[in-house]
Symmetry: C2
Subunit: 354 residues, 2 copies
């Protein structure tokens, strides 16, 4: 990350190239910069500076007689050292706050709406990842026996397990139950599990329920094979992180995606939502804004895109990730502010409503 301290003109020219390229999506020539950003020097001087920037690897020419285009390294330098975060206008802040305030419905509905808000305000793709349940703390477990209706053949009961997490997330899950457990047994299991497991993380609980010795300690003499099996099943959630994203069709208005072969790989990737979680190589969601530029993204289809992401919290715990996917040629200052502000508002919403 050694930034070789660009002199003033180089910085100015690099910024001009990036800004101009962001607007037009076409290579930027020296005369354009002279006219648009009149920085008191002639086009020829700017040309010299551009040649320097090219040598540094910050800009490049698509062909020998074209203008300059920023490289990924150029964007990296811009994002890390040059740009200053753009304060959102009050109007935009209000817009985000109002839209978030008017949300209601369950956790999933809220998340879905927020991905929509993000995409509408950014004009790119907005996404929200649901929290990993692994780290979530159990607040309450409720077991509701479901009368097996008239399935008198091969009767095997079912129980609806409702897991309420400390963060406010609710997860429900239908669990098969052996017929030698009565409703009374279920109530008893429920009481014991609530007593012993509330306050622990799901991950921890799953470890416990795999471990017969541990289970024995909890259930004391009460533990039978069917109780153990039932307990295991209750907490065997498949942990999928769900991904909500919205605004993919905004990419159709981006000139660099006008050809089908450019946009197709991106859409194919987006359809495999589960892979998107893999975009964030970080093992845990990390606080603060992250910017991933172009081919720093490890998936095919994302070479021409950048991702700006942050995480949202509830009661201080990191929950999931939100962010925006846009073309590499992106208005970084604006998008960074949008993602940052939305993550904050969202965290507040959860603390109030969940």
């Amino acid at each position: 990350m050694a930034t070789p301290t660009l002199d003033f003109r180089k910085r100015e020219v690099l910024e001009a190239i990036i800004e101009c390229y962001n607007q037009t999506a076409t290579p930027v020539g020296s005369r354009t910069i002279e006219r648009r950003y009149g920085m008191g020097v002639s086009a020829a001087t700017i040309r010299n500076t551009m040649a320097d920037l090219e040598e540094l690897g910050y800009v490049t020419q698509p062909h020998p007689s074209a203008g300059r285009v920023p490289t990924e390294i150029g964007y990296r330098v811009y994002v890390d050292t040059l740009m200053e975060a753009e304060e959102l206008s009050n109007k935009e802040k209000l817009l985000i706050q109002e839209r978030c305030a008017s949300l209601d419905g369950g956790f999933e509905e809220v998340i879905e709406q927020i991905s929509k808000i993000l995409s509408e305000i950014s004009h790119y793709i907005g996404f929200v990842l649901t929290p990993e349940l692994h780290g979530s703390i159990l607040r309450r477990l409720e077991l509701i026996p479901i009368d097996g209706e008239d399935d008198s053949t091969e009767y095997q009961g079912k129980v609806l397990a409702v897991l309420l997490m400390a963060s406010g997330v609710v997860k429900n899950h239908i669990v098969p139950v052996s017929k030698d457990l009565t409703d009374q047994d279920i109530r008893r299991i429920s009481r014991i599990l609530n007593e012993k497991l509330v306050g622990l993380s799901l991950q921890h609980i799953q470890q416990i329920s795999q471990d017969t010795a541990h289970l024995k300690a909890i259930f004391d003499t009460y533990l039978s094979d069917s109780v153990a099996a039932f307990t295991r099943n209750t907490f065997s959630l498949n942990q999928e992180i769900h991904i909500y994203l919205d605004g993919a069709s905004n990419f159709f208005s981006q000139p660099e995606f006008l050809q089908v072969d450019k946009i197709e790989p991106l859409f194919r990737l987006l359809e495999q939502k589960e892979r998107i979680a893999g975009l964030f190589s970080l093992p845990q969601p990390t606080a603060g804004i992250q910017v991933v530029i172009g081919s720093e993204n490890k998936y095919e289809g994302m070479e021409m895109c950048s991702v700006v992401h942050s995480c949202y919290t509830s009661r201080g715990d990191v929950m999931g990730t939100i962010g925006v996917i846009g073309p590499t040629r992106m208005q970084y200052p604006r998008i960074v502010s949008i993602v940052d502000f939305t993550a904050q508002v969202m965290s507040q919403v959860f603390e109030h409503t969940l």
Copy 2:
């Protein structure tokens, strides 16, 4: 729907044009038909027949010296009277059954998977609409008070309401509760509501909970303003039908969608998922396969698409809709069979697992 009983040759030629066009997506000439479907007559004769079909409005020419392309009317005739449903191969049937059998997880997960299966097998877009809750029968209501944590300021409790439907669908919903209702009150309300409302449709229940006289009859002397408000809130679900769809990027391989301006409106429409429910003008999902061709679809962006849909059931009740969206130039016999068979398998899955 007057089909003017085409003579044998006209039918044969129309079928040939449709089949051939389905494969190549280019206008079909008379010589191509002569060679490919060698129907014992010369190209010139076929040309004459094609001119007749054109007069009937079943085929058309993109430009004066091109081959023929089926019109929507042509497809309509084909779908309604000419084509015979293609029996799926055992291999495909098995594939669908196996994929469905290996599903687990909640209702939403299953539905999401099925839209994926549909798209993979059809190579078009597969979609599944969740049931309208309106018509669903309540099987069980559970109210779980959530301790308001340390929100000692402006304390207002919350209750997690879990609604289990007869169909097996579970819906949960966080309901605010006035602080003059104790946990004991909540339990009492729960008992009363279960006694009086189980077996009724949600729609019916919502009517009742709006109607104070009715509520009074149920709660007898117990009804206070806060009990009434709480009851109303418990059943005030926003009824959104959720839509899962998958395989949109399959359209990138369809030649008629190779230009961005063709595919863009479609994707923009698909992103407004709520509108997709409106594709089915039918007030209630209707049993049996329906085929909606091209501009019979009322939304912009769907002019070049057809929709094949049917509905799935659980315990005999119609629940939601599943279907496939493909280009108008679609292998109707195959797709109709896929949708039909998948709907059947899906219904079976629900009856077993929910």
